[in-house]
Symmetry: none
Subunit: 531 residues, 2 copies
């Protein structure tokens, strides 16, 4: 049986750019469109030529090879001919392969927001589509507010779809602009739209305002839609657009869809998905969502010991797909609830293979339990676990030792009578018998200690140049008098790798320093093996 | 028309505790069950009595008033009588109102993971349910792997449901344990289950592995399920459980559901949802998800200028529900009204009544926004908000002033050659012109500062005797070049009241000190009004 083709349309560079705090440079846009093409996206919507300098520049060249390169814009203004509309000219003269027009499909919004008649709106739509086709472009129409519009005035909403189709639009995309439509409603409404617009010419554009953008997109496909619009990692205005990184594996792997449909994404491309998703977050300088479906660091993580031993027998016990098909990996967390099988698979992930009956395994398990009882948590600090394992196996080199440190924080009135805080740290480091002493000022004691340590690590100095502290988290355990502080430090380097180290002490500065020291050691260990 | 009742079952304290990096203390569990009751949850699953010290202690008292308090556990072990099973005894003897048993419904898993016959499994199930009922508890059964089990062996999966029902379970909960089932499959399978188990006795337990836990839960409700299991903010193993914070407003506000069903959540409770969601994240010491449906800081944010002006004309342009009904606010400055009404209701909670047109309200709103832009967060620090309001209204007495402090941490070898860390703090305090200077040693700089401050507060000394620091949380906020630290301190006193104060600074000690100072001030304010 031949499968029906589903088309994937990415709007990360257009609707995704509406995300609070996100702004793309020209270089970002170029890099992201390459990523999108590489995973097999069919349409890459690049932005809005004419709206700003970056977008105009981006559309001055064709930026994709295999994928269709799409420019987004408004239909022609009412009361002006299509040949005389600079907005349309920007779109038609751009180097895009296709133009996606946004056109309101809710009569109330046409009158309220545009202040024109519903008839004028249809006329603008038809003429704009015709202009795109005359200019040699493929035409697409995003019917804005389609579902709310349909509920308010079914006739007008359907008329918008017909007008776009009749004018020659390849795709008419039904947009749930406000994101409040339920999957059951999407399914019913799409079925009705198909009665006036049969065939493979409908698309869906969903937003996540009720946490159902993915479900709405899939409901639309079941009902007959053949193009899905979405973004990388669900970027987008408000709660975001449909997440293509979640949708793609579902379409490719889940029998309900995979048996009927095919997409432009092959198995090798699917295997890069985890990497693409995380690399994109790196580009946005934000921590990847650990709980993200398919690609999150926790998506195939198991904490409970009974689950871990069941997974060892058969992955289908707690995994709905195999992690490697999306380029992710199984993460059996080392924790109080864990047993030997968790430990073995964690070690394996770091390239340490031990036999099941290796006596060092028992010793390690005892040590993990003993340290966790004291407040350590390896579940979130795998780099520290890695160092502990190497230490126990005798394979951790002694890079450097900190023989002492001092940190002082002082808040006082300065000469101008202002209250200021000053922070200074001194560290004494022993590298192969050579004692190095450094001092630095910082924003706070940990920052000052970090800066002092970096000042002189002797022969290791240049190996920590690109080491960067990204985040640190502090938790007080047990409360009360015997309180202990646990500090988790997140670090990264220029390779894009992120790692977590942990420190525990009644003293927050001590705990931070331990995690800091382990982060430095991990970085040195890492560069030792790679060189 | 009378509406059908939907029951909300929260498993944050049980399945939510499987989240990577999350661990609940007894105090956390008590605080969270209060939050859950306050928003109108029907069932609060508290954990697994007998499995660990915290859970056993938690179940030594009844922890809920209105909600049913549920203990989770396994059915009796095969080859042992129900009266002779310590696991069952722990459940029955706990102070829970109800017991939720997990029981495998996939024959393959019964044989593989349990290593017993499918018949033995049913026998354990029936006898365990009977034991719960005999012990005076309501019985619930989580059918683990139900949907995968149904696909593999429909007869056995349905037999599990029937066995649980016939044994007297009030609820039989269909679990999508691996989270890979599609909403359309859920709908079909639930409809089939209803043919053997009619009525209002089915529940749904969905996981988010394809990003559809919410959609799967709603599909199940449409098909006939009347209990929904989920967690606060979608906590849970791997990608998390169904997010109750997303589900609740959809059930209450969306006509498709609201016209047919009612829940235990009233309009006033719905208005607290944003606050509850963010306060819970604060408790977990993690940044709230800005894009979270309904409650995220960006959920009603608009970036595009054209959208903002359309919203000013009519909110339905880009909002599917009004933000205030879930206690959130529109994040565009076109409407100060939304912000003001939030502020008014927060002030009211602290007994401060202001008129809607009081000019001080505008000033306060500006100050909140300005301070939040600098990193403060009043969602989790209501005591600081209370102090700020009183300061602005001129009703905050000047108790004492800290004119300077110094803290020093030193790690060095002692006389015995051991590495030790010593921490000392000095504070200078002005009480009504009298300058007091104290010094103390502590476990860490904040502890030392706390101890030094307590040593001599002049005439206020005895009013802070029972003040105790319970917890403190530190978060690094990404401020580009200048990262800023936010510290949240939780305090309590002998009345049992707990309060949270916040401090923000590039220096962690400074930020901590600010929160500490505010905690002391709040305590003095509190005793001033109560005496």
């Amino acid at each position: 049986m031949t499968k029906e083709r589903l088309y994937l349309f990415d709007t990360t560079l257009r609707d995704g750019a509406q995300t609070t705090g996100v702004e793309f440079s020209l270089e970002d846009k170029i890099a992201i469109s390459r990523m999108l093409e590489a995973i097999g996206i069919d349409y890459v919507e690049g932005g809005y030529p004419g709206a700003n300098v970056v977008d105009t520049e981006f559309f001055s060249e064709k930026r994709t090879k295999a994928a269709r390169f799409v420019a987004f814009g408004m239909t022609k203004r009412a009361g002006r001919s299509v040949d005389n509309d600079p907005g349309i000219a920007d779109l038609v003269n751009s180097r895009a392969d296709a133009i996606c027009y946004v056109s309101k499909a809710w009569d109330h919004q046409v009158k309220l927001a545009l202040g024109i008649s519903t008839k004028e709106n249809l006329k603008s739509l038809a003429e704009s589509v015709a202009a795109a086709i005359a200019g040699g472009k493929e035409a697409l129409v995003d019917c804005e507010h389609f579902f709310d519009g349909y509920k308010a005035n079914r006739t007008y909403a359907l008329e918008c779809v017909k007008t776009a189709r009749d004018a020659g639009a390849r795709w008419v995309v039904l947009c749930d602009t406000n994101g409040g439509t339920m999957p059951s409603e999407v399914e019913e409404i799409v079925a009705d739209v198909l009665t006036v617009a049969p065939g493979d010419r409908l698309g869906i554009h969903a937003h996540d305002d009720t946490g159902q953008a993915v479900a709405n997109s899939l409901a639309a496909v079941r009902a007959g839609v053949r193009q899905i619009q979405g973004t990388l990692n669900g970027l987008g205005e408000r709660c975001g657009n449909a997440n293509l990184v979640t949708l793609i594996p579902t379409l490719v792997l889940k029998p309900v869809f995979a048996e009927r449909f095919e997409t432009g994404v092959g198995p090798e491309q699917l295997e890069t998905l985890t990497h693409v998703s995380r690399a994109f977050d790196e580009m946005l300088n934000r921590a990847p969502n650990r709980q993200a479906p398919y690609v999150g660091a926790s998506a195939f993580a198991t904490k409970a010991g009974i689950h871990a031993s069941a997974i060892a027998k058969d992955p289908s016990t707690y995994e709905h797909v195999l992690p490697e098909v999306v380029g992710n990996e199984r993460a059996i967390m080392v924790s109080q609830q864990a047993g030997k099988s968790n430990l073995l698979s964690s070690l394996k992930r770091f390239g340490i293979e031990l036999a099941k009956d290796d006596p060092r395994l028992d010793k390690m398990l005892r040590q993990v339990k003993e340290r966790e009882a004291r407040g350590y948590s390896y579940d979130g600090a795998e780099a520290s676990f890695y160092l502990m394992a190497h230490k126990l196996l005798g394979t951790l080199p002694k890079f450097f030792e900190v023989t002492g440190y001092r940190a002082a924080i002082e808040r006082r009135h300065n000469a101008k009578g202002e209250l200021v805080t000053i922070c200074e740290a001194v560290v004494k480091i022993d590298v192969d018998g050579e004692v190095l002493m450094s001092v630095a000022e910082g924003n706070g004691p940990i920052n000052a200690l970090d800066l002092a340590m970096r000042k002189d690590l002797g022969k290791y100095s240049d190996r920590i140049d690109d080491l960067e502290l990204v985040d640190f988290k502090v938790r007080i355990l047990d409360g009360g008098t015997g309180a202990v502080t646990r500090v988790l430090i997140e670090s990264r380097d220029s390779t894009g790798e992120r790692w977590f180290t942990v420190g525990v002490s009644p003293n927050i500065v001590d705990a931070s320093f331990e995690a800091l020291y382990e982060s430095f050691t991990y970085k040195l260990m890492k560069t030792a093996t790679s060189s």
